[in-house]
């Protein structure tokens, strides 16, 4: 019995403390070091933030370079298939141009009418504040099973602050949750930690919650509200972060929301520098 206990303690101690050969550090010392780093990072001692920011900037850029070969092959195959389909695409685009020409007159009329109505209502045109936007390149888009976020190549040096909304083609993508000097992390709408107040087509208010899957879900809908497929979902702007009326997606038959922008296909995004959350993010 005592021999077996001795064996256990020898193997246990050896596993924790063994060094020598290729092992320059014992597991125990590294566990302690990892714990110290973890708690320093969590409780944010004043000197850790700039160090963390510097490490982030360096690692994100190395990640971008290291991922270049893996991006090349999908891009090349996409380019080849685009080249082969150029004739069909040309015909399709011609048909689209014709369609949009007919719609253009309609849009012009509606825009004028909208502006006139806004003057009557004395409300601000919501896009007025969107002039100060910044284009950013997506550096890292590592698909984690637990966190849905991207890294962009603009940081505090470009005026980006925590909480700023991020869009692509005027469709909402997410918001900035971490800033470094030369890069920032954007939390995507489908992340489990994402919550956004939204308005539906018919004026109903709800919260769009990330599910960790590709489609976020609507929560806190009015009682007895019947969700219909293909209902447009917009940011309500009640949180003071997102511009009201920013389109987000459409409801599907499962009751979740199909986003207008595929979060896995982002290469460039725009950050709205005017709007910033003043509260605690």
């Amino acid at each position: 019995m005592s021999v077996s206990r001795d064996d256990f303690s020898i193997a246990f101690r050896s596993a924790l403390l063994q060094r020598g050969g290729a092992q320059k550090f014992s597991v125990l010392s590294l566990i302690f070091l990892a714990l110290i780093i973890f708690f320093l990072d969590i409780y944010g001692a004043s000197f850790t933030k700039p160090i963390r920011g510097f490490i982030n900037d360096v690692v994100y850029r190395v990640t971008f370079l290291a991922s270049a070969p893996t991006k090349f092959f999908p891009k090349a195959s996409q380019d080849i298939s685009t080249f082969l389909n150029v004739r069909e695409e040309n015909e399709r685009l011609k048909a689209l141009v014709e369609k949009y020409k007919s719609l253009e007159l309609n849009v012009e009329f509606l825009t004028d009418e909208n502006k006139n109505l806004q003057k009557i209502l004395e409300t601000e045109y919501f896009n007025k504040n969107l002039s100060n936007i910044m284009l950013a390149k997506v550096l890292v888009d590592k698909n984690s099973p637990f966190l849905k976020s991207i890294i962009i190549n603009k940081g505090t040096s470009a005026g980006i602050l925590k909480g700023m909304p991020v869009t692509k083609d005027n469709y909402l993508v997410g918001r900035v949750v971490e800033t470094n000097y030369l890069s920032s992390r954007v939390l995507l709408l489908n992340d489990l930690n994402s919550r956004i107040p939204v308005t539906l087509d018919k004026g109903a208010q709800a919260i769009l919650s990330g599910s960790g899957l590709s489609n976020p879900v609507l929560e806190y809908l009015p009682e007895d509200y019947e969700l219909i497929e293909d209902t447009n979902v917009f940011a309500s702007g009640k949180d003071g972060i997102f511009a009201s009326g920013t389109p987000i997606g459409k409801t599907n038959y499962k009751g979740s929301v199909d986003l207008f922008v595929d979060p896995n296909q982002l290469s460039f995004v725009t950050v709205n520098l005017n709007i910033q959350n003043k509260g605690n993010l």
Binding site: A22, F38, K142, L147
Partner: protein, 170 residues
């Protein structure tokens, strides 16, 4: 002879290079786009296998550093992945010290223990000390598929070891 020695050194650092590359690059073993629930923690399979079979290939310091890099890229608090990887190393070294000869089945079973211990520590620390929330179903799927895929990678790594590094089992 010198050429052989360089090649042999290169084959020996192959696993640690792969670990660094997996942590720093955008390559992920998360195949959600193909099959929505399929996620896999390839890093811990890699670490566990090599700690069991050839610990000198998987140096503790390198694993610690790779964990820190993984935290930065994934947006986790610094040190949490290192801690999780070190637990895998600890269990792997303990099993190696206690066993005379190992089989794929025994490695698979002990890997389950290592993965459970490591994930309990990882998620309980994150849950208690950070603002991040995790879907428990995803954690379950991740653990299931990591465990499920272990024998396949065990065979692949074993093949690599036999062909390129040379056998020196525990």
């Amino acid at each position: 002879m010198a050429k052989n020695s360089i090649l042999s050194k290169f084959y020996n650092i192959g696993p640690i290079l792969l670990l660094y590359y997996l942590c720093i690059s955008e390559i992920d073993t998360n195949l959600e786009k193909v099959f929505e629930i399929f996620t896999l923690n390839f890093q811990i399979i890699l670490i566990y296998f090599w700690v069991l079979k050839r610990p000198e290939v998987m140096a503790n310091g390198h694993v610690f550093l790779a964990g820190l890099i993984n935290d930065v890229v994934m947006g986790f608090p610094l040190g949490i992945s290192s801690l999780s990887y070190l637990i895998i190393i600890f269990v792997g070294t303990y099993v190696r010290n206690k066993s005379v000869n190992t089989t794929i089945a025994s490695d698979w079973f002990t890997f389950l223990m290592a993965m459970v211990l490591s994930n309990i520590l990882f998620f309980s620390l994150l849950n208690n000390f950070s603002d991040l929330t995790f879907p428990f179903s995803k954690i379950g799927y991740n653990m299931f598929f990591t465990l499920f895929m272990f024998p396949i990678f065990w065979l692949l790594f074993n093949f690599y070891q036999l062909m390129l590094i040379g056998n020196r089992d525990a």
